[in-house]
Symmetry: C2
Subunit: 148 residues, 2 copies
DNA sequence: ATAATAGATTCGTGTTACTCGAAGTCAAGA
DNA sequence: TCTTGACTTCGAGTAACACGAATCTATTAT
């Protein structure tokens, strides 16, 4: 049976490496109550089983969509409450889906901007010259491609 | 001549509306020295001409790539110093272009995650049922699509 | 002419989400 | 036994704003 199989437990350090976040952040999240099924060993050390990792992964993703710690906590509480909170959870997720959509568009614009600048600097460094004695041109050479 | 044309000057309020940021943020940026050509009127009010708007727009974009206020300030100083700093500026921009690239990938992943969850909730709300008396299933129903 | 309103200013505190470091505890290896 | 290393708690620091009170000024209404 499942209960008889000892499932692997992960330390804070291991979890930090697995998800590319710091130990401090993990401590911070657990202290905020974002990982309800968190386990403590006899020396009070934090231990994560697969369920804990699932919660953490959910938190990381929703946070990546722009959700605050406070809302993550609220969402977690709703999950624990079960079926009766389905609608509210759905509405939260839809909201952050929309935010994630905007974030994606913005990220694309920012990348476009940065690539435009890189190209511009390459042009300059490859010999295309400006009248650098005129400060107006420094600014111009910095920003002329910003509207692309 | 250009010097004789009175160029339009914008107040903090106008600039805030134009760029969708708060007046507080604009004050914060100007106080940090991110807009070197900032103009003050006889009552000490902040006024932006086109050059100021260019600087601000540059700041907003680079910040969107992940650049900190400190680095924005440094980059601005390099711009003011002129040609001799081209290489360093280029390297900064390349660095943040790479970060912007990662940000875009991450934003896409987060959106995928959120859309998966939305779909999942729709399934549930449309009648697909789980054994909700078992808490393990609440968690499962929350997270089962996270790896897509 | 005075008064109220609207918008600007400075300055100082509050908030979020970490981030760091000190000080202490504990198990395991030389 | 002693040291190393990884864990703990707790408290303070940081970045990038966000907010509000107090004040000043220009314009409009009475």
């Amino acid at each position: 049976m499942k209960a008889l199989q000892k499932e692997k437990l992960y330390t804070v350090q291991e979890v930090a490496q697995m998800y590319g976040i710091t130990k401090h952040t993990i401590r911070f999240y657990t202290d905020k109550g974002l990982i309800p099924p968190l386990i403590r060993d006899e020396n009070n050390n934090r231990l994560f089983n697969q369920e804990c990792l699932n919660w953490l992964e959910g938190c990381i993703c929703l946070k990546g969509c722009g959700m605050s710690i406070k809302d993550l906590k609220h969402y977690g509480n709703l999950c624990l409450k079960g079926e009766s909170t389905l609608k509210e959870r759905y509405e939260m997720i839809v909201k952050y889906r929309d935010i994630a959509k905007e974030n994606l568009l913005k990220a694309q614009k920012m990348l476009d901007y940065a690539e435009c600048k890189v190209k511009h600097y390459k042009d300059i460094l490859n010999g295309r010259t400006f009248d650098n004695s005129n400060p107006a041109n420094w600014q111009k050479s910095e920003l002329e491609c910003r509207n692309n």
